[in-house]
Symmetry: C2
Subunit: 199 residues, 2 copies
DNA sequence: TCTCGTTATGTCAGTAACTGACATATACTC
DNA sequence: GAGTATATGTCAGTTACTGACATAACGAGA
């Protein structure tokens, strides 16, 4: 009895989050998730390629929003400036999802398998950002490096914002990007012979 | 018939790499790996927590070497300098493993599941580097950020070195860290209203 | 309204990764 | 030579995931 298809996906997602919170990720079965959502296990796997993915829906839209913002950033911004611009543009989206993402994050923090998946999602974001930078004319290698570094700063800022939302994500982002500049600017290269520790 | 335990692990590792190259990762069964190594499937899982891990042995030693080098770096080096020092100190180790890691990398490049595992290994490296930086007195958040950024530069340099080994890893590392400085130094912050694209 | 093609789902059988429990054989020590 | 620890074998079982086929709802058009 197909209601809409999209409906079942939402129920499955909800059921998965609930059960993971109640019993933990490893202790819940895909069959149990399907049962609570009122469908069959087979249907679960028609909506999600694997058990982990049930917690990661919507990431595609977020990735698209971020890379679109990079492309739409003012032309006079250099790579890191465009990234900062893009990160600031999604603050509202993130703020709206806070109530949903909080319990989700709690489950992830307790589950290595889910943490692993977070890493691949992040890698996907980096790839998208890198591609967007290239569309701005940034050279290939630099784009990849900038996307990685920018993502690190974003993660840093988002974590701080999670614990202390008052200043707003934008403020945390500015602090993170400042920290980045400090890291590079005060940095002096080690001497040419410095690598020979092991003699 | 237990030979030494360590012996079986090596045979399993070797068999896994061979079979993955011949048939691909997904098409290879843990039972097949065990059979070629002359042991039982159960023994495979006594040596490796899961199928993927058969390709990632030795990473622990590499991680330890890197973080030890960070701790042993000259005191006058700032965070990024200490990281660069550490990365240069493992060039010989990496060069020695080139013949083994080349086919391994080829398998990984064709296997999403293994790429995902690479990401968690990298995350483990970042955590270790961050801890080593903290032991040098670097503040918590800065240490994490520096470790991530440094690791990005290392990956950038290692990739370039893989395609063009002649200049040596050290030269590629210097180039990568220079690129990092360029990213931050030329970077101008976007104006305060820049985030309002979506109106 | 009937028909037909499309789509979401159900059903069922099967594969393969991984685990726990117990038995056994080898190596190591006293 | 007895005894202990360790690596392995054996076996039964769970669960994530897949392919093949059947069926029920839905929409478009005659």
């Amino acid at each position: 009895m197909p209601r809409s298809g999209e409906d079942a996906r939402r129920r499955l997602q909800q059921a998965a989050l609930e059960l993971f919170r109640e019993r933990g990720y490893e202790a819940t079965t895909t069959a149990e998730i399907a049962a609570r959502a009122g469908v069959t296990e087979r249907t679960f796997f028609r909506h999600f390629p694997d058990k982990r993915e049930a917690l990661f829906h919507g990431e595609d839209a977020f990735r698209a929003a971020l890379s679109d913002a990079v492309i739409a950033a003012p032309d006079d911004l250099d790579p890191m400036g465009a990234l900062l611009f893009a990160f600031r543009s999604v603050e509202q989206t993130l703020a709206n999802n806070r109530s949903f993402s909080a319990p989700r994050q709690a489950v992830i923090d307790q589950t290595p398998a889910l943490q692993e998946r977070v890493l691949t999602k992040t890698a996907g974001l980096i790839t998208a950002l890198s591609g967007a930078l290239r569309r701005r004319g940034v050279e290939d290698g630099v784009a990849t490096l900038a996307a990685q570094v920018g993502m690190a700063a974003f993660g840093y800022a988002a974590g701080a914002w999670f614990h202390d939302p008052k200043p707003g994500l934008g403020a945390h982002l500015l602090r993170a990007f400042d920290a980045l500049q400090d890291l590079s600017s005060t940095f002096r290269k080690p001497g040419p012979n410095s690598a020979d520790v092991h003699r």
